[in-house]
Every structure is written in structure tokens, then in C-alpha cells.
Symmetry: C2
Subunit: 230 residues, 2 copies
């Protein structure tokens, strides 16, 4: 049996690349996605399409209720998604999100006897998020290696962040080389009901810039009305 | 405004005492309980009764689906609850449970601007659980102080475990002094539908021994049929 790894899969560009890297390293990939009060569930459909295309061993969707906590433009309908970069931590930050997602991944990893968890965080283009920083990831890994029965029994767990210091263009080049179909992925914070991107939010702009810098044709489907206003 | 604290409240003896200690230290207590595929939801009723009796500022119950992960006698109907101590980590261990519960508490603490999370773990009577050990708690606290926007903005969070090295009898004496009504609490791993304890599982035995050693009358309601077999 090849080594198992849990891979957090949002359906976006980074996590789709993380799945491909985990598989290229010889891991049997178990993809985990979350339904956490996102404004648009269409990103879970993207996650499913990516999981099928990359032939993961299993794709599990876990229901969690972060919207009850509010406090983020991504989960609270009362806060607008910004279309220009601000200062400090973005309003799209969700309280303790990566801590919660990694905690669920740790539970599944223990049951699967997996020795790694892959998360496609990136500290270059999204440096505003506290829980995308290398020091957070290292601290989570230290904690995880004290948290479980499997750890006590001598089996370590690695939290792998292969993309953490790559520019978006490098992520895209690597993914294309590994056969990732970025046409299946969705990065936009406010897609329409058909999964077309707004082209205006932070996430859309970093993505478009990445394809441009990589010299690779951008397969993203954009909302025509929005693009017409540009 | 007094300082806020999130207190994890299972409805058991230890967490009820943790609520009382948080309040005695001057915190405004926000109690958080979880519906996570427990065999008996009656423990959530106990948590509600404790929260009302101790007049917490708010009691929130979060739905999480740990049963999907299996692997524990507390969440998997296929595994029996043992009635004699075993070796190593007990089968009542739930994979990564305290990591997940503390992650939710961290999210709520950030929204509330709370500066502490209380958890009634105890490393004396339950030393078999990896995620009740002081080294796990310290590692979680280190991680938590890197995980949130509030941490980046200079507000620290403490993970408080006031009971961690107290014998059960000391926990009971302290709680009685603070006005805890242990008749409202439920410790048993396999209570009946009316919330009466089995008297035979690990948790029941530690609890009964604690009241005996403290010299305090045990208000626990036991299942008569089970007790009749003793």
C-alpha cells in the first residue's frame, strides 16, 4: 500500500495543485472539502470535479457551521467582498478557519493511518491571512504530533505546504506539468450560479496575473456582464 | 465589561466545575457544547441545565459530525464501552476530538474578543488520552496565538486547564464550594434515556470514587437494574 495523505481541497487553483503534488510524490490522496456556509456551493462542485479528474482514493465533504460565528465577508451576507486590496488582514479572513479545517483533516488522517496532510496555503500572494503563515503551520504540526493516539504510538504526521512560498505563476506551471485541468477549478470569492468568476475580487486578480506571468492561457470562465463593465 | 472566556461544557462533572472556576475568576462565561454523534444526547440536556444554573452569558451548541470518522467506542455503535480499565489509550478516545473542540472554541473566542478558553481536562484520572496532556494543551496554545487576526493584532489567548492535575476529589470539593450542583451533571459513557448512570464504566467509577474520597454525598442517579446486579 502506498502512503496515504489527506489533502484539503477547496476547488480552487492552489488546492487542486496540492492534490497533484501529493499524488506525484507517491501518496494515495484522500481529498477533504467543507461545506461551511460559503456564499456559493458551486465551489464544492468544482472540488468534486477536480477530485474525479485526479482520481483521488476518496473525496469526503464535511458539514461545518462557521456562518454561526460570522465576522467574515465570505460567510456573513452583511459584509461586502472588497474589490480593491486593503491593509492588514483581509475582511475575507474567516476566524480560525485553517485551524478547524486542519483539525478535521487530523482526525481523518488518524483513522486512515495517513502520515501527511497537504494544504495549499500560500504566503506570497495572500500574506494577510494569519493562518497561511509558515510559523502557524509549524505550530499546528507540533501540536498535531502530541494530539493523537497514533502520535503516542510513534507515528508522526507532517503538515505539508508545497506551495507556501511559490508565486502564483510557478504554482500554475507546476500544476500544468502534472496534468491539472485548471478549467475545473474556481478561485473567485463571488462566482455566479454557473461558476463563472467575477474577475474583480482579490482572488480573481491574483489568479489572472498568475496565468499572465506563467505565459499560459487562462481557462477561467468569466461573468460576461462584469467583464463588459471593465 | 468583564473579560470574556469561552468554556467547553460537556455536561460532565469536570466541565461544570470549569465553568464555576472561570466565573469565580471574574470572567463572563460563554459555554460551548457539541453534538458530535454521541450515543446519548442526554448529555447535552445536562450541559444546558448546568449552563442555566450557573447563569452563563450564552450557551451555544455546535453540530459536528465526528461519527463519520468512527474509531471510538463513544461514536461508533460497533465498539462496546469497556467496563474494566485497559492498557494504553482507551477505546473511548475519539480521534483528534479535543483539537477539533478547541479549534471551534478559538473561532468563537475571536468573534467574542475573549482572552481565554477553559477546558476541564484532567491528566490524573484520564492519563490515557493524548489530548488531555499538559504538553498537548501548551502546543495548542502556542498554535492558537499564531492562528488568528486577533493574535496578529496583539491580543493573546490563554488555554486554561485549572483541573488538569487535581484528583477528582479536589475537583468536587472546589466545585461544591463554588455552588456547582453536581446533581445536574452527567459523567457516564452509557446513560439510560433518563440520564441515569450505569455505575460500571471508567467514568462512573472515577466519579463515584471522587465523591467517596471527598466525603461528599454522591448525587448521581444510577440505573436501578444495573445497580441491582452488583
Amino acid at each position: 500500500m502506498s502512503a496515504r495523505a489527506v489533502v484539503l481541497l477547496s476547488g480552487g487553483l492552489d488546492s487542486a495543485t496540492a492534490v497533484a503534488i501529493a499524488r506525484a510524490e507517491g501518496h494515495e490522496a484522500y481529498a477533504m472539502s467543507f461545506r461551511y456556509g460559503q456564499r456559493h456551493e458551486i465551489e464544492l462542485e468544482a472540488a468534486g470535479a477536480v477530485a474525479r479528474h485526479q482520481q483521488v482514493a476518496e473525496h469526503r465533504i464535511v458539514d461545518i457551521d462557521l456562518s454561526a460565528f460570522g465576522g467574515s465577508a465570505l460567510t456573513d451576507p452583511g459584509i461586502d467582498v472588497p474589490e480593491a486590496p486593503g491593509e492588514g488582514v483581509p475582511v475575507t479572513y474567516v476566524p480560525a478557519r485553517n485551524t478547524i479545517l486542519l483539525a478535521y483533516a487530523l482526525a481523518w488522517a488518524e483513522v486512515l493511518e495517513a502520515d501527511a496532510i497537504f494544504i495549499g496555503v500560500n504566503a506570497v500572494d495572500y500574506s494577510g491571512y494569519p493562518d497561511c503563515r509558515p510559523e502557524f503551520i509549524r505550530a499546528f504540526e507540533t501540536m498535531a504530533n502530541l494530539a493523537t493516539r497514533r502520535a503516542i504510538e510513534g507515528h508522526g504526521i507532517s503538515i505539508r505546504t508545497p506551495l507556501i512560498d511559490w508565486p502564483k505563476s510557478d504554482i500554475i506551471r507546476r500544476g500544468v506539468a502534472l496534468g491539472v485541468d485548471y478549467g475545473l477549478t474556481l478561485s473567485c470569492y463571488q462566482p455566479d450560479a454557473e461558476g463563472r468568476a467575477c474577475g474583480a475580487c482579490d482572488s480573481c486578480r491574483f489568479r489572472a496575473q498568475g496565468f499572465a506571468e506563467a505565459g499560459i492561457v487562462d481557462p477561467t470562465r468569466y461573468q460576461l456582464a462584469r467583464r463588459g463593465q471593465d
